[in-house]
């Protein structure tokens, strides 16, 4: 689960001397929001985002200024004038979990991936991480999510797996999440079957409490510590 395997390797990058209008066009053409800025040796100098470009543009609410003058000013603005220089970078050996947590912490949407010499190796964005976690959740495979509430003690998962396996059903993924009640866990097996009713009955008759996925949301933890 290293970033190296999930990042985009054919990175669209730009030089520091390019105009910001060019940067805007490149981003629009490739449908991307982050452009790493590199020197001739591919060393990372900064990142320019669509927001950096937009901030440099005149506001649509100010139309009194001289348009020609404004065009002149914009055409002279270079990538190096508006880019972020103090970029958070990560190494190719960061894990996907590292990247995900760092993204939550920094609130950045993408990280350039660089080697020890600060040479650009790739870029990993929130979209790459989403793709990876969609895979982990097994969303691409045909199946159905079942919710089970269990006591938070050793051996529960084995019982669940045994019960479901006895019904000759295979697993796409299993998610274990915290529950409201201390001492309880919510277990969500994603089962690769159309025949879920017999599995549910078996689980219930084995003493498990089923959770209604309609009444559940993944984000049961407080969003902020102050909540």
């Amino acid at each position: 689960m290293f970033v190296e395997q999930s990042m985009s390797k054919n990175v669209i990058a730009i030089g520091p001397e390019a105009g910001i209008l060019e940067a805007k066009d490149v981003m629009a053409e490739h449908n991307i929001r982050h452009l790493p800025v590199v020197d001739k040796d591919d060393k990372l100098l900064g990142v320019i985002t669509d927001r950096d470009v937009r901030s440099a543009m005149p506001s649509i609410f100010v139309d009194s200024c001289n348009i020609e003058e404004e065009k002149e000013r914009l055409s002279k603005l270079k990538v190096k004038d508006v880019m972020t220089k103090d970029v958070v970078t990560i190494s190719p050996l960061y894990t996907l979990q590292d990247a995900l947590l760092l993204m939550q912490k920094t609130r950045f949407g993408a990280f350039p991936v660089v080697d020890e010499d600060r040479k650009l190796k790739g870029i990993i964005s929130i979209r790459d991480l989403m793709r990876a976690f969609i895979n982990v959740l097994g969303l691409g495979e045909p199946g159905i999510l079942v919710g089970i509430l269990v006591e938070n003690r050793l051996g529960q998962m084995k019982r669940i797996v045994d019960t479901i396996t006895e019904e000759h059903v295979s697993f796409g993924s299993i998610l274990v999440a915290r529950y409201w009640d201390e001492g309880k866990r919510a277990v969500f097996p994603y089962l690769l079957t159309n025949n879920v009713s017999k599995v549910k009955k078996k689980l219930e008759s084995s003493g498990f409490e089923l959770l209604n996925p309609m009444e559940w949301y993944l984000d049961q933890l407080p969003r902020h510590k102050t909540d």
Partner: protein, 317 residues
């Protein structure tokens, strides 16, 4: 009254899915029993199945997949791709008879010998992908039917309306780039039901954009929600498409007593749906309507659901 065909063949019972499997031969027996006890059988045009020519299966499925299915049966394997797909030595032949029977039924309709028909077939088809069996399905019967109509009968525009409680992933994927086949499905929301596809934003791709339409319904909903959503989504869309033939993927598993889903349609709710389908066929496709059985697993309810379904097709109610 309309002249309605009824495709049923005792050989459909030979597709053996083993003990405890919900997709079992008794399903068809119960449906047939419902028609028999209501005295409907003499009023229907009986249709027996013949084997589909391989070229029609190949119009939908990858040849490697077809051979893999045949060889798996010959070899005596009892499942394919997923443990859900239980089968026996005869399953390949029976799947050919299911598709073939539907093609025979279509031929009768196109020759004007019947107006519409109900095809009580096994195994079902709408989950079957081009190269993969899934959700008890091996050959995508509705998709084969649509291809046959287009190639053999010069029908340009076919609508497939799927009200099985599960999304017909196979049918959608087969036609999602094809603007000549409109696929509509109403089903239990994919976050709560098999197979996890059929979200509202899946609307077809490339040239087929706008020719796939999905209505996911949350668990716990029933007749009122189905009526509201079909009126909102299906009827305007079908009006824009004007199909020359309508195929139905009919699943009785959205019934409140069917434990394969959390959707609570009543028996009357089902009659409303099929009644509206007959109206759509009268309005757009000269009455041409072929209903193809997919799911529906609550054995005690199948006689009445089958009976009502056929009565609505006949215009008896």
């Amino acid at each position: 009254m309309k002249k309605t065909g009824f495709l049923y063949d005792d050989r459909y019972l030979l597709h053996d899915t083993g003990p405890y499997h919900p997709e079992r031969p008794e399903r068809l027996k119960m449906i047939r029993k419902g028609l028999e006890e209501a005295g409907l059988l003499p009023m229907l045009t009986p249709i027996k199945a013949s084997r589909a020519q391989q070229k029609w299966i190949e119009a939908v499925h990858n040849i490697k997949y077809i051979l893999r299915f045949e060889e798996s049966c010959l070899y005596g394997l009892t499942e394919m791709d997923y443990p859900d797909n239980q089968m026996c030595g005869a399953s390949y032949e029976i799947a050919l008879l299911a598709a073939g029977g539907i093609l025979d039924t279509i031929k009768l309709m196109m020759e004007g010998k019947i107006d519409n028909a109900f095809c009580a077939v096994r195994p079902p088809g709408h989950h079957a992908e081009i190269d993969k069996s899934m959700g008890f399905c091996y050959f995508n019967n509705a998709a084969v039917a649509a291809k046959y109509l287009q190639s053999e009968w010069n029908i340009r525009k076919v609508a497939i309306i799927d009200f099985d409680v599960h999304h017909g992933n196979g049918t959608q994927h087969i036609f999602e780039r094809d603007p000549s086949v409109f696929y509509y499905s109403i089903h239990e929301h994919p976050s709560f039901a098999f197979p996890g596809t059929g979200r509202e934003f899946e609307k077809g791709t490339d040239a087929g954009l706008g020719y796939t339409l999905n209505t996911p319904v949350l668990p716990g909903q029933g007749d009122a929600e189905y009526k509201k959503l079909m009126e909102r989504d299906l009827f305007p869309a079908i009006d824009g498409f004007s199909p020359e033939v309508i195929l139905l993927s009919t699943g009785f598993d959205a019934h409140v007593d069917d434990d394969m889903s959390g959707i609570n349609l009543s028996t009357e709710g089902y009659s409303w749906i099929i009644g509206r389908m007959v109206e759509l066929a009268d309005k757009y496709s000269d009455g041409r309507l072929i209903s193809i059985l997919e799911g529906g697993y609550c054995l005690p309810r199948l006689p009445e659901l089958g009976k009502n379904h056929v009565e609505m097709l006949m215009g008896k109610k």
